[in-house]
């Protein structure tokens, strides 16, 4: 047994931490910074687990989770896009359909769906049917869609046409719209994908949001004085902070376990469910610690709270 990260994993963590820090000061509730995406690409982070021969970095799933987890603490929308993009390249590791430095839109399926679209095999082609939310921060012309195929889940590349732009509760920077696929022809990349990478990476984003929530809540509670002392001196606050920290550690361990080579897909499903709940509970408490200030856009916790809500359906 060994709970330590490898040297490689630590290096990746260090790199993303530094990169994320330099983006901390920017407004992140309206769109993902284009420079950030470029920098992620330049550092090989758009193909963390992808085959090096195709331009990927060839790292393990935990390295991807680490990247997403770090980035989510600064920009959760960017982290989820990063998670989805990398999951696509991982699911499709040996196909040339994806260029690892080009971010496609990702749509109903990863990670946001409970109304999974379905794909029909029409003999000479596949058609996709369904409706859902698509994140398209960089104006891609096609979306990668997870659709059910006779009990399996397949991955399809679907042309994007008309879509209604939407402002969901959170992760707004990912640039969302709703699309309806009514029998569009789609390219089938795989008719049976393993969702382990996607779920693990998205769960890592949820843990990152939770951690950022704890950070904000603790920072605020240490400064804010009521009844003559900082909020952190109240045992009620201390108990909250202790619960938050414990749940975050549990969630991160779940993600790390799910990322191991031996873990089955079901472990990633559990990690995502658990981390989604922890993200919501933690950020909710952290907002509460801010009192009225937490309800305003002046403090990052307001955005984190809305971001966490996008994980409600997964919990």
């Amino acid at each position: 047994m060994n709970f330590d990260l490898t040297e490689d994993q630590k290096m990746v963590q260090d790199m993303v931490q530094k990169l994320a820090k330099s983006y901390e000061e920017r407004s992140i509730d309206t769109s993902i910074d284009q420079d950030l995406a470029a920098e992620l690409g330049a550092n090989g982070l758009l193909g963390v687990c992808a085959n090096p021969e195709l331009g990927g970095s060839g790292l393990d799933l935990l390295s991807l989770a680490i990247c997403v987890h770090e980035l989510a603490q600064v920009d959760a929308a960017a982290a989820v896009v990063l998670a989805a993009h990398n999951a696509l390249t991982a699911m499709n590791a040996n196909s040339e359909a994806f260029f690892v430095d080009d971010v496609p839109a990702f749509g109903p399926g990863i990670p946001f769906s409970n109304e999974t679209p379905f794909a029909a095999d029409e003999g000479d082609r596949w058609t996709v049917h369904g409706t859902g939310l698509v994140a398209n921060p960089f104006g891609a012309k096609q979306a990668a869609v997870l659709a059910s195929t006779n009990g399996n889940v397949g991955l399809f590349l679907v042309p994007l046409q008309e879509s209604d732009s939407q402002t969901p509760m959170g992760l707004r920077g990912a640039n969302w719209s709703t699309v309806t696929f009514s029998g569009v022809s789609a390219e089938c990349l795989s008719n049976n994908v393993d969702l382990k990478a996607a779920q693990t990476a998205v769960a890592a984003a949820a843990v990152g949001i939770a951690r950022a929530g704890l950070h904000e809540g603790l920072a605020y509670a240490s400064e804010r004085v009521q009844f003559g002392k900082p909020l952190t001196k109240f045992q009620a606050t201390q108990f909250k902070l202790a619960n938050m920290a414990t749940e975050i550690d549990a969630a991160w361990l779940m993600v790390q376990a799910a990322a191991s080579v031996a873990a089955p897909e079901s472990e990633a499903t559990s990690a995502l469910r658990f981390a989604s709940r922890v993200a919501n509970a933690t950020v909710d408490e952290a907002l509460q610690l801010h009192g009225g200030y937490g309800y305003t856009a002046e403090y990052p916790i307001e955005r984190l709270y809305r971001d966490a809500k996008m994980f409600l359906p997964a919990q």
Partner: protein, 365 residues
């Protein structure tokens, strides 16, 4: 025992329900989008008697009691929580004036109930004192003409539109024993406000920070006596918590409705238990207040449970309905954004727990 509202109470509920259904349901989305204060809607509500539900008819009120008030607030909140909070504060200010006011102070009540004032404001919180309201920094220094007010009030609901403020301050250099309440004309020289707070929800309610900069107010501004202010505030907040509990209850009920209407009947039934518990706690607090019995503990229970249930139910509903529920078209995300603050204002959930436990321990002592 009879836990059902009576005919008079249901009449008030129906008035509110009709207005909510015919008007507020149609305007809520636009008001929210434009961050627009609902002047027209508030005026119509005043005409319907909703701005002084528990106020004597001699002041233009509806005299429909606290239960009638609670039912009406929930109905309004189901359609538009932001309008409901404005209604709550208006009613609370009118009730404080009716209970503690005298002479000219009482004239403001009819201005609120008639809608000639779009709103009244309750100015207690400050940037540095929320839960610990008693550590306020605002000072009222007596002089020959009355008092000179200096200080900053934070989070003032309707502050930009109110026709009257009730402002809390310590008198002279006094400490918390001198906390007093003053009835203040918002047009007085030296009062200014900042731009509205950018809130997560309730965009159609107005929340501003008020500055009082050498504001001369007349002697008769003082409500009751010097040093009575804190008690007035706490009594007002007990009543206010019935209002906010009712608002939260309305939000929770609406979330259940959304679930039912979108074919998630089973989940709706499961979650409805939580809402029913909240409803009974809210109605009991309202009834006790109406009976003029002690209701501090029960008001805190009502507010605590209903506000927590509102958020719980909205979240469970979003989990149930999935990603489409995170979009504005489904209403749940707005209900949650609007509802989240019910766990913060008029005493946070933690403050309610402090109040409840204090009362509980009194009994065993």
């Amino acid at each position: 025992m009879n836990l059902q509202p009576g005919p008079e109470q249901l009449k008030m509920q129906n008035v509110a329900r009709e207005f909510a259904t015919n008007t507020l349901r149609n305007t809520a989305t636009e008001l929210e989008k434009n961050h627009q204060f609902p002047l027209e809607q508030l005026a119509e509500m005043a005409n319907l008697g909703l701005m002084g539900v528990n106020i004597d008819t001699k002041y233009g009120g509806s005299a429909a009691g606290v239960v009638g008030y609670s039912l009406a607030v929930s109905e309004i909140a189901m359609a538009d929580p932001a309008v409901a909070v404005t209604m709550c504060v208006n009613n609370m200010v009118a009730e404080v004036l009716a209970e503690f006011g005298e002479g000219e102070q009482l004239d403001h009540i009819a201005e609120i109930t008639s809608g000639r004032y779009p709103a009244g404001s309750f100015c207690l919180s400050e940037p540095g004192s929320g839960s610990d309201a008693a550590s306020m920094q605002t000072r009222a220094v007596p002089n020959d003409d009355g008092y000179v007010l200096n200080g900053t009030k934070a989070w003032i609901t309707s502050g930009e539109f109110a026709g009257v403020y009730i402002v809390w301050a310590t008198v002279g250099d006094g400490g918390r024993e001198t906390i007093s309440a003053f009835v203040v004309d918002p047009k007085s020289d030296g009062i200014s406000w900042g731009k509205p707070e950018e809130k997560m929800g309730q965009h159609a309610s107005n929340t501003v920070q008020l500055s009082f900069d050498d504001v001369q107010i007349p002697k008769h501004s003082l409500l009751a006596e010097v040093g009575h202010g804190f008690k007035i505030a706490m009594m007002a907040l007990d009543g206010g918590r019935v209002g906010i509990g009712s608002q939260a209850l309305g939000i929770a009920k609406e979330a259940i409705n959304v679930l039912r209407q979108s074919g998630h009947g089973q989940a709706a039934e499961r979650l409805a238990d939580d809402v029913r518990a909240a409803e009974l706690l809210v109605w009991r607090a309202a009834w006790l207040k109406q009976q003029k019995r002690p209701f501090t503990k029960e008001a805190s229970m009502a507010k605590l449970y209903a506000s927590e249930a509102a958020c719980r139910v909205c979240e469970a509903a979003i989990s149930e309905m999935g990603y489409s529920a995170t979009l504005p078209a489904q209403k749940l995300e707005k209900l949650l954004r609007d509802g989240r603050v019910t766990r913060i204002y008029e005493g946070t959930s933690e403050v309610q727990r402090i109040v409840i436990s204090r009362e509980v321990m009194k009994v065993s002592a």
